[in-house]
């Protein structure tokens, strides 16, 4: 699948993760920042890669700022960012909040 537009999901709050997904042509290029990167960097990357593969995405730039998110949060944010990048999900209309 091809990424239609750059999308973002998640926040910089503690226990969350912010993922930005944009077009790429050189496999999955990760740029990961995490306070716990040493221990969990690989696991975070693997979880996101799994989700991207499920959607048949093999070329993308993936910018990740992790604030100590649980694996289920990483997965949920990854699914959301893919759906937004593929135009499968509308971003909520933040202005009305």
């Amino acid at each position: 699948m091809e990424i239609k537009k750059t999308a973002m999901a998640g926040t910089l709050e503690s226990s969350d993760i912010q993922i930005m997904l944009s077009q790429g042509s050189n496999g999955l290029e990760f740029d990961l920042v995490s306070d716990v990167a040493k221990q969990f960097g690989k696991a975070i990357q693997a979880t996101i890669t799994d989700v991207l593969n499920t959607y048949d995405i093999h070329d993308a730039k993936v910018k990740v700022v992790d604030k100590g998110a649980l694996d289920m949060v990483v997965k949920a944010r990854a699914i959301t960012v893919v759906q937004r990048a593929l135009d499968m999900a509308d971003e909520p209309d933040w202005k009305v909040i």
Binding site: A9, G10, T11, L12, E13, S14, S15, D16, D35, V36, Q39, F40, K67, G68, A69, L70, M72, V73, A76, R77, T80, P92, W94, I97
Partner: protein
């Protein structure tokens, strides 16, 4: 106790969506206030229950403490959402230096006993650092709620069970609100406001048996709720003075502090009579609330303290009270107060006895009860008043009835009120309305219980439970 038995469950997607909403709202605030610091303030509670009465109470308490820490800062904007199932949250926009404010909120998270249950995030759009971490300022990263390790690594590794976390949170709650509760070192303005608000709260509670409230002047022909408003405002300088006396007192002999407050109290009585055109509205409270304010200022002058320390101070201040006021020289005095007469006649020590024991009715009975009571503020206060009335040797009630035999009756009325469901049920409310009419007919009033309620509300406000 388990504070997680009630409340609507939330789920991961709702929590994640709410985080994004917050983040976007923060961005909007940063654009609107480009040179200011945006503070996001929320609870950090694991598990599906993120809001209920208890958690809302913790949140309100934290909010008050945070605001008291920001005294002197210009607050440009604030928004609070209490009722979200994803947890209560609030925003503040403050004019100030990012790193200075961050230090302040780290202090809140680390030093305030419930601070560990909060997340306080600061952002400054224009600041090059944008968001400071604890480490940037030389502070250790936050430790886990359960063990001493870094919180992030415990969360990530899911090292602890939800039940373990609940146990710790329940313990923090019980420790703060029930046993020997924490006293923040509120500044003068906050304490004075709490004292005046407690006076006004009490007169507003309706219907109180025989007492003045907005609906009726009860069994008091010479005053209305308006008289109490005038009187309350006239006492402001006195509470300021009592606070300053307590804050500045240096000696070891706290009975001297008590004497200073009492001298100020005599002037306050004159101010009261002037404001009420000669009616005694708050004489008992000038005594008891004055002691409480001074003791609170004394015990928190160097930092936060605890309820048992406050009680020790009150006891030390009033160490000679019973001997001097009640036992020595009563026979020589021509005009004895109601309390002194009752000691002479019935050996009842009244408000002096309560003060000398550091207000057991307030600390041991009324305050824990009010903290747990549910319903509107009026309902919670009515139930607390009726609880106090059932147990207190109320000198106003005895004086009006002409005999302490009334106390046994009052105890029975209180028991009946609660048996009928108290303020929560129509039957309890009807009973109370009838009791009010009965008191008015018989010229009875619960003046002493009302004073105890004021002291209770004063502390409850500072504690953040109302």
């Amino acid at each position: 106790m388990n504070i997680f038995l009630k409340g609507q469950s939330t789920d991961l997607s709702a929590v994640l969506l709410q985080r994004e909403k917050r983040s976007h709202y923060q961005n909007q605030l940063e654009q609107r206030y480009p040179n200011k610091v945006v503070i996001s303030f929320k609870l950090n509670i694991p598990g599906p229950i993120k809001n209920n009465d208890y958690l809302a109470r913790i949140f309100q308490t934290g909010w008050r403490v945070l605001l008291s820490q920001l005294t002197g800062q210009v607050i440009e904007h604030s928004r609070m959402e209490n009722a979200l199932t994803t947890g209560p949250e609030a925003f503040l926009v403050v004019a100030g230096d990012l790193s200075q404010l961050k230090q302040l909120t780290i202090k809140f998270e680390d030093d305030f006993p419930l601070g560990r249950l909060f997340d306080v995030d600061l952002m400054a759009g224009k600041d090059e650092k944008y968001q400071l971490s604890r480490q940037d300022l030389g502070f250790a990263p936050r430790t886990c709620l359960i063990c001493d390790q870094e919180a992030k690594s415990c969360i990530k590794a899911q090292r602890h069970s939800l039940m373990d976390a609940y146990q710790v949170i329940n313990g923090l709650y019980a420790n703060y609100y029930q046993e020997n509760f924490y006293l923040f070192n509120w500044g003068k303005a906050t304490v004075i406001n709490a004292a005046l608000a407690a006076l006004l709260d009490e007169v507003t509670v309706t219907p109180k048996p025989g007492l003045v409230d907005p609906a009726s002047n009860g069994a008091h022909q010479d005053m209305t709720a308006f008289t109490f408003i005038d009187s309350s405002l006239a006492l402001r300088p006195y509470f300021v003075r009592a606070f300053e006396l307590g804050q500045n007192f240096q000696g070891m002999d706290l009975t001297i502090l008590f004497e200073q407050v009492r001298q100020a109290g005599i002037r306050a009585e004159q101010a009261m009579y002037l404001a009420t055109k000669g009616v005694n509205t708050h004489k008992g409270l000038i005594f008891s609330l004055g002691i409480m304010v001074a003791a609170l200022a004394q015990v928190t002058k160097n930092g936060p303290s605890r309820a048992d320390r406050l009680r020790q101070i009150i006891q030390a201040m009033t160490a000679n009270l019973l001997t001097v006021d009640l036992q020595k020289g009563l026979a020589n005095q021509e005009d004895l107060t109601a309390g002194q007469q009752q000691y002479q006649r019935y050996q009842l020590t009244g408000i002096r006895g309560e003060a000398a024991q550091a207000f057991p009715m307030v600390f041991e009975l009324a305050l824990p009860f009010l903290g747990q009571a549910s319903g509107s503020d009026n309902q919670r206060y009515l139930d607390t008043l009726m609880l106090i009335a059932g147990q207190l040797a109320d000198s106003t009630l005895i004086k009006r009835a002409g005999s302490p035999a009334i106390l046994a009756k009052m105890q029975a009325w209180s028991a009946e009120y609660f048996a009928l469901g108290g303020s929560q049920r129509e039957s309890g409310r009807t009973f109370l309305a009838n009791l009010d009419q009965d008191f008015i007919k018989r010229n009875l009033s619960l003046g002493g219980a009302a004073d105890t309620l004021v002291l209770t509300i004063f502390l409850a406000r500072l504690q953040g439970v109302v």
